[in-house]
Subunit: 306 residues, 2 copies
């Protein structure tokens, strides 16, 4: 991605035979900075705004071919066309950068998770188990000669094994929603629906036979539905909510529809929706929110299947 | 990313007031397909190649404004400039798509890993530990009345605890290179260097105090150096290899330099280099290979630190 913008200004300079092209992008709310520069400025600079959805997302600074020269009408027409195209390229470059950062963040936290797990297992559970084996050996030797001592050791073994069971349970719990493995996606969602009963009735409609889903799709589907239903409980003043799961060519379709007053604008663009959209996007899918004409809201998500 | 190419053809059509613009990209070696289309073709189509590094990466198909009309010289100049720019945009779109797929793949395999770990812990280790606790309880009850039975149970506890130790060891081993936690990055690399002794002498130069590195950087550095040194052993016919680690503003710098004959071209672009480059890229870094003027090869990598 770092090469896109330099290539962009170089391409513009070469195509138009311009001595200087610079691309300015907003660095912060108040400050713009040159994101890519080709050549050296000479004479008067002309600024051409880059528009994306009617918003100025940057501008090009260009210099005419010679000092004192001005751009012809044809040049201006060309520059206007090129600015439109450049805006698309700038958006593409920004997207690439965001994707790169998002991937980096995922890899970084995966490795931290692995290191943590490794510690918990290697430095926690491993030594406990080794010590249990050793103590069992000692207790066996003492069983006949000193049954009281053997009994004391056995009590300690029991305690340690039980503590280790709790450790394993905690590790497992943090790995992924336990309900997914214990009940499967659909029943895990039904179990979740129970927890909001009283505040909201949730109907879950699913195909009779859901294919085996990739772990990542299962987790994303589970979280997206939970988040969407939680939003309904919090903001929609709804009495009923319909959750639908279906499998089509594009992947797993989710829909969560309520009969409430519609979410306020700040919720629509809020953290909940963002996190749902991120979970879908990480898998190459998408998540959208629609206001329904009769009031109420529908959240839909598509999670591609391999 | 799916929106970039449709926006591109629409922008070109709007900027040039053309009734039809289609972007064709290679689908496979032998087949090109329209990747984005704006408007409907009418009259004669003109094809404009999109060049990236002198290679045709696609073409634009455009129709003049009216049937029977032709493009003016000004139009042609405009189209040529736009084709150059469009090539940059197409490259940016392709990059975004690749990044998206790479991120998806990482998330998918992370969740599969979590599911596998969850199974190993919850269905494997958990029940064993619970059973050990139960057996210890039984053995305690029998210790006085039936020491022989208690001894048999203790033997079984020992066996199970030892098997569980092996299970934990295997889980831990698969999480990340064990040497990293046991020795730290630098000594893990020294240990690895021992394994190629006889085939190659490896000198490792590092700053006296390496800062604590993120787990992901440690793992990437370890794998990149191993891969690079293994390549030297396999292909370079070198006798000496210098590994250097350094920390600078941009991040952790790695360099692996040998005094051999230089890697053959197919190795340079081979799987080994690709996997090194991917590991660096996942963290927002880079990995390059250079031929040295005196023969030999230098692999460098920069892994950004937070």
């Amino acid at each position: 991605p770092e090469r896109i913008l330099p290539t962009l200004v170089e391409t513009i300079a070469t195509a138009l035979k311009l001595p200087y092209v610079a691309l300015w992008l907003p660095e912060s709310d108040s400050r713009w900075e040159p994101a890519a520069v080709y050549g050296r400025p000479g004479g008067e600079q002309v600024l051409i705004p880059l528009l994306h959805q009617n918003r100025e997302i940057g501008h090009l600074a260009v210099c005419p071919r010679g000092p004192g020269e001005r751009f012809s009408r044809e040049d201006e027409r060309l520059l206007a066309a090129i600015a439109q195209l450049a805006a698309t390229t700038v958006q593409a470059a920004r997207l690439s950068l965001e994707l790169q950062q998002s991937r980096r963040q995922i890899v970084t936290s995966r490795e931290e998770e692995r290191r943590r797990l490794r510690r918990d297992l290697h430095d926690g559970l491993g030594p406990v188990l080794a010590s249990v084996a050793l103590q069992a050996d000692t207790a066996r030797d003492l069983a006949e000669s000193d049954p009281e001592a053997a009994k004391a050791i056995l009590t300690s073994i029991m305690d340690q094994a039980q503590a280790a069971v709790s450790d394993v349970r905690r590790l497992v719990y943090n790995l992924r929603p336990p309900a997914l493995d214990e009940l499967g996606l659909v029943d895990a969602l039904r179990q979740f629906a129970q927890t909001v009963q009283g505040k909201l009735t949730v109907a879950i409609e699913t195909p009779e036979h859901l294919p085996t889903l990739p772990a990542a799709v299962e987790v994303a589907a589970y979280h997206i539905v939970r988040e969407a239903v939680n939003n309904v409980v919090k903001h929609a003043q709804a009495s009923h909510c319909q959750v639908t799961l279906a499998v089509a060519d594009e992947g797993l379709h989710l829909s969560v529809e309520d009969d409430g007053i519609g979410a306020p604008d700040e919720t629509v663009s809020g953290v909940g929706l963002l996190s749902m959209q991120e979970r879908a996007a990480e898998l190459g899918g998408r998540c959208d929110i629609h206001r329904l004409s009769g009031g109420g809201t529908r959240v839909t998500a598509i999670l591609p299947l391999p």
